[in-house]
Symmetry: C2
């Protein structure tokens, strides 16, 4: 169902998007401030349901690309997202009828809203990851046959680059990552332009609504002094994600982090509050794999989310610090993200791990 | 005067272009083989004099970009130059009426000929350097106000990238260099698209003719058992370059060379045949500055050319090796390359040297 999204929804949406960002996707806080600032004068925007778009609509996904460690410090000028949209429009000779997030996690839940405020376009309620992933080709759009090219990248000085690698999305990622590094580590992009029919066939549905519900659930639970994780589990159970497991509760004892190859990469170690157990999370922008005492407890594409143990606010990989007290969750992904095509694009082996994917609800029975 | 250029001219042209390449610009040998191969079936091409083009012609310069150390090993597929031409044509919605070399030195004297064979376009007799330089903004086109953007880069797998940095050519160089490295170290490019009027205002004239004359002079001198350097000095004296000086004769005793940041960079040391003097040449793709026993004898934009002492064949920076016996020449540049605007773009200080430009004929009086 389509709906209007206003300023009062932005805090909840950003909180939910940070959960779905699984530590990455860029801190939505910055994006929220940008949207709020523009929305104050432009008013609410339309979030359109996937079932209500036309088959021959022309949908242009818009996002930020880069290492979150850079993106939190390097503010966009604010004009780049629409410039990226206009660059692919010009390149293809078509005019967008809507935009859509490429990932509903992190700052990329917010960037399309900014474009909507600035252009009047509606935002389609869905995305290509149902979470956040580090690389451009790691999308259901790609897994189900939509090419990423042509893509446009725009830098803070208005530099505009259009990349076309045909059907080779990994090559596109390789080139775009290099360009993003040359642009200072972050860029705004338009890619995976699609018809309405292609969006309907390949997108994860209603993930903006989901982010909003997750953010609202956590806030309302806090306000009602209920346990937020219990409330969150109830919300998740009513969606395609279905399963939530508490993987670990403990304190951050070590963080190794480097910004390398255009990604924020590293490992975080957590010591249990109750036992001698240790959790180790490996991340590349997002949390990819979690191991408790050497045993794998959750892997991509299932979601690993680190929440502050006290207030349940999500903690991003670039925000991890020694001594933080955390509740670490594993959340299942929708079935469309667990097919062989999807796992080939963004299962653990696509990230170089030898581990095979096993659903979190099977790894940790209730 | 316009003329037809045929297969029999290619060897002389390549030899002359290697002299004007001042050690860089990529070895023209590879380009010559590519042109020869295509020209065998397509026949001669038209080299059109700058005075014979129309003001509103649309001229697209085409070149290879990258470190010569890479370019000599990474053969182009052969379809990239025309693909780069088509990419800027499509981006701008205009059709080229001619192409022109960006540099008359090295392989880039040959790439436009390949495009001419493949498309039937004429090649304008001129270029934007009158020699070879390592960076994109180091052109008379730029020094006299033509922007480099939009530029297209094409990789060997057909990857096509269009870069637009407005009037900021140094930013264009920075991004394009990064893209070229991601493409494996070499790419084919189209940039500095111009009207006929702009070409007439900014290009160095008749440099293809010059390369041809230089190559022919060296060959004919060898065939007639005359000293090639004397013959070359006579040819140069009849052009805008005017001055030729023998900077040094000696043997290569040391070469430091690394491919770094997308360039072949380093230093070569030569020991004199007759005395204890040493010549040191510093290069970045091209030879930039020459010092004899610590005293500067020649700098960019004047040309430093290393010729084999025995047969006077030019030696490129990537071809330098211990024990080579060489005659090292300094050749003046045309007055249009010695103006304040030109020296700001490609004088010694544009390369980070503290030394100011002084013409080679003043540094070494006859």
């Amino acid at each position: 169902m389509s709906f209007e999204l206003g300023i009062d929804d932005l805090n909840d949406l950003a909180r939910g998007a940070a959960v779905l960002g699984t530590g990455g996707g860029g801190d939505p806080h910055v994006g929220r401030l940008m949207v709020e600032n523009v929305m104050r004068s432009t008013g609410p925007i339309t979030i359109v349901d996937i079932d209500e778009i036309d088959d021959d609509d022309f949908i242009v996904p818009i996002a930020q690309m880069g290492a979150p460690t850079v993106a939190v410090e390097k503010m966009p000028a604010g004009t780049e997202p629409v410039a990226a949209l206009r660059a692919v429009e010009r390149h293809l000779g078509r005019t967008a009828t809507a935009t859509i997030p490429v990932e509903c996690g992190g700052i990329n839940s917010m960037i399309p809203l900014l474009v909507a405020c600035q252009t009047g376009l509606p935002v389609v309620d869905g995305d290509g990851m149902g979470r956040a992933f580090p690389e451009l080709q790691m999308k259901t759009f790609a897994a189900y046959g939509v090419p990423g090219s042509p893509m446009a990248l725009v830098g803070e000085r208005g530099e505009t680059i259009v990349v076309d690698t045909g059907s080779d999305d990994k090559r596109m990622e390789w080139l775009a990552r290099g360009i993003t590094m040359r642009l200072g580590g972050a860029a705004l992009i338009a890619e995976f332009t699609m018809t309405g029919a292609q969006v309907r066939r390949t997108a994860i549905r209603r993930t903006l609504t989901l982010a909003l519900r997750i953010g609202r659930t956590l806030r309302e639970a806090r306000e009602a002094h209920e346990p937020p994780v219990t409330a969150l589990a109830r919300t998740i159970a009513g969606t395609d994600y279905r399963h939530l497991r508490v993987l670990f509760t403990g304190k951050v004892t070590d963080v190794e982090r480097r910004t390398d190859g255009g990604f924020a990469q590293g490992r975080a170690t957590f010591a249990s509050f109750e036992s001698k157990s240790e959790l180790r999370l490996t991340f590349r922008n997002e949390f990819l794999i979690g191991e408790v005492d050497g045993e794998v407890v959750c892997t991509v594409p299932d979601l690993i989310c680190v929440l502050d143990a006290d207030n349940c606010e999500p903690i991003t990989t670039e925000g991890l610090a020694y001594g933080q007290r955390a509740t670490v969750l594993g959340i299942g992904t929708p079935p469309v993200m667990r097919t062989p095509e999807a796992l080939a694009a963004f299962g653990p082996q696509a990230f170089g791990f030898t581990e095979s994917f096993q659903p979190v609800e099977e790894r940790i029975p209730c």
